[in-house]
């Protein structure tokens, strides 16, 4: 019950947040001296009726406040207009969002199953050679620009021929069996995941190390030791559980930085994700698409934080909604 109230409370908090973001986004994009339908007009395959319908939907002849209201109304209804290519924005987003989620999920999965053990190892060997080495490696991981690392991986792919050089599927994807399809996608995911994984691993490893070091200093760990428990039991049964809690909050941030950081990696690997979509939309000044993907990106980020908060509440019931 307590949990349910917490979830509802946190959920209601996000609504004004999204509202403010939509205002900021809308007016920022309208600052741009570009005719929102300019590119559509240039596309001969788009009929006059579609253009008129868009004009009415966006209310372009009305003052900007009214335009914002109209835009918000149709966005909530799920109507986001059409892209410059004539496709529906919502279809395009439906196609791209799962790809981005897949990439993010794979990266987070690997970061956690490798980052946490490495953090533990570093903390337990504090000041020793292995800790020093891990600190240096994580420093390098944090400093390497994602697009530069992606370029180096691309170089590797081209030179060795072991990996595909971009995209998510091979040209013969549709003719593959189900198992073959999974393998094909996994094969395409390896390099982009590796790039993003290297970058987010460092942060998680360092955080885990410092959390565990903090917890190891606390009274209840000292008590557990004094009780005569073996060191393994102290660490794995008592210390670890509390050291992981702050990482759950970090999960939300990690998701956010993946959404942002993935854009450049997606660009280099020609990966069909949300980041590349918004980039292409910006470059083609496709206003409908830019606005929609900005909002969807924000909603995904906020939802990620919300999920992390709820997860933390389940793991650690002492947490209160602020």
């Amino acid at each position: 019950m307590n949990l349910l109230i917490y979830i509802i409370k946190r959920f209601i908090q996000t609504i004004p947040l999204l509202f403010i973001v939509s205002i900021i986004g809308f007016f920022l994009i309208r600052l741009c001296p570009v005719d929102p339908l300019g590119e559509l007009r240039l596309n001969p395959s788009i009929s006059r009726q579609t253009l008129e319908a868009e004009k009415i939907r966006l209310g372009l002849d009305k003052p900007i406040i009214v335009q914002y209201g109209l835009w918000l109304k149709s966005f909530i209804r799920g109507d986001m207009g059409i892209c410059t290519t004539g496709e529906k924005v919502s279809d395009k987003l439906k196609e791209r969002i799962p790809n981005t989620l897949l990439l993010a999920a794979a990266v987070i999965f690997f970061t956690w199953i490798i980052g946490i053990p490495l953090g533990i190892v570093a903390a337990l060997n504090k000041g020793k050679a292995i800790d020093r080495i891990l600190t240096i490696l994580s420093g390098i991981g944090m400093a390497i620009p994602s697009f530069f690392f992606a370029l180096l991986m691309l170089l590797l792919a081209v030179k060795t021929g072991l990996f595909p050089t971009g995209g998510l599927t091979s040209y013969n994807y549709s003719s593959l069996s189900t198992g073959g399809k999974v393998i094909d996608i996994a094969h395409h995911l390896i390099l982009p995941v590796l790039v993003l994984f290297t970058i987010s691993l460092s942060g998680l490893q360092r955080q885990m190390r410092s959390n565990l070091l903090d917890v190891m200093e606390s009274d209840y760990v000292k008590y557990a030791r004094a009780k005569g428990l073996s060191e393994t039991k102290v660490i794995f049964k008592h210390a670890l559980r509390n050291a992981v809690n702050p990482l759950i909050t970090l999960l939300g941030f990690e998701f956010a930085s993946l959404l942002s950081g993935a854009a450049l990696t997606e660009f280099v690997f020609q990966y069909p994700g949300l980041g590349r979509l918004i980039l292409e939309a910006v470059l083609k000044s496709d206003i409908n698409l830019v606005m929609a993907s900005l909002m969807i990106g924000t909603i995904m980020l906020v939802a990620g934080n919300l999920l992390a908060d709820i997860l933390l509440k389940i793991v650690d019931p002492r947490v209160e909604a602020s």
Partner: protein
């Protein structure tokens, strides 16, 4: 707690890695700011007949196996009809000796004193491409130095906008409290909820096309500053909430000092140690953001160089395999960011040994 700047610096330099990183940065900044002196070619030099020329090899042992003054050969360009690629091979018929502190193109020190000596150059008629050339036959090495002037300063300049805004915003929000605090924090959270890079590219695309490079440079700084202020302001606000309970703040209030005076003169100086750490850790993230933007073609535009837009060329499959020298700017970004991070980490350990921020 307050620390004198000197104390922090001295303690930081005691760390081997941090002092190494510090000297690396000093050398990098010295090099890019004396770019006109070091570079063998001027900013706008381009020789279309030597596009994508590989790095010039510098020899110190001559064909008879004897030690000689350093020299290099020019390249001869030819077209390979089988692979449709342009090939370069050395023209062994004539040596050109490499010269130091010799006369080259004219420039002005600090924009006033005319001068024409260069750190490294080559005999008349010779070409010295230390790191090869790009598609327009521009010397990569010289452009790296000129590009560094932009890439390495953008971060610092953006800080000068971002930090005062963040400090004041967080200070006011935390000190005044109540409804003002509530609204101000919701706005800051909203800005933080937009995926930073999405916001960055949208803002960059709003820039009109016909700007001069100086205007564009200035606006990119403003855009970068727009990204970081919100999270910074939130931390400052948190600190201000606890600082404002201190007795000396109550005393200042009792003397009748104005709110803004108390915030600026008494509250904000207390956040100094955090600000120093945040500055050294924010500069590298701005360097990365600028190079990312320029890499996408939304930041610094050609013909101006920045490390990001130079790396843009390396994306091409042919370039990436057969012209690895185009990747050089990536290594420099990496080195600069790594050095800043190491210094930032060390300063944080010095200022706040129990800090949880990692």
């Amino acid at each position: 707690m307050r620390y004198s700047q000197d104390g922090i610096f001295k303690q930081m330099m005691r760390d081997k890695f941090a002092s190494g990183a510090f000297w690396v940065l000093i050398v990098l900044y010295l090099c890019v700011f004396s770019a006109v002196f070091i570079s063998p070619y001027p900013k706008d030099y381009s020789d279309r007949r030597s596009a994508y020329a590989p790095p010039s090899k510098i020899y110190i042992i001559n064909e008879y196996g004897k030690l000689s003054k350093p020299y290099t050969y020019n390249y001869i360009r030819s077209f390979d009809e089988n692979t449709f690629q342009i090939k370069y091979r050395e023209d062994r018929s004539k040596k050109y000796s490499v010269k130091y502190f010799s006369k080259g193109y004219k420039y002005k020190i600090f924009g006033i004193i005319p001068f024409d000596r260069h750190f490294i150059n080559v005999e008349n008629g010779g070409k010295l491409y230390i790191l090869g050339t790009d598609i327009n036959g521009r010397d990569n090495f010289s452009r790296l130095l000129f590009g560094g002037q932009i890439s390495l300063t953008v971060g610092f300049l953006a800080l000068f906008i971002c930090f005062p805004i963040g400090l004041l915003y967080g200070g006011i929000s935390g000190y005044i409290g109540g409804k003002t605090d509530f609204i101000m924090m919701r706005v800051a959270e909203a800005v933080m909820s937009i995926p930073a890079f999405y916001l960055l590219i949208i803002l960059a695309s709003v820039l009109p096309a016909g700007m001069t490079s100086i205007q564009r440079f200035a606006l990119i700084i403003v855009i970068l500053a727009f990204i970081g202020w919100a999270s910074f302001a939130r931390v400052i606000r948190g600190m201000v909430l606890s600082i404002k309970e201190a007795d000396y703040i109550t005393a200042a209030r009792a003397f009748g000092a104005s709110k803004i005076h108390i915030i600026v003169k008494h509250v904000l100086p207390q956040t100094l140690s955090y600000v120093i750490v945040a500055i050294t850790l924010t500069v590298p993230s701005y360097i990365l953001a600028e190079s990312g933007l320029s890499f996408l073609g939304l930041g610094i535009q050609q013909p101006d160089a920045s490390w990001g837009n130079m790396l843009k060329e390396a994306q091409d499959f042919v370039n990436i395999t057969s012209r690895p020298w185009l990747l050089a700017p990536g290594f420099l970004i990496f080195v600069a960011v790594l050095a800043f991070n190491i210094i930032g980490d060390t300063i944080r350990d010095v200022v706040d040994p129990k800090s949880k921020v990692r």
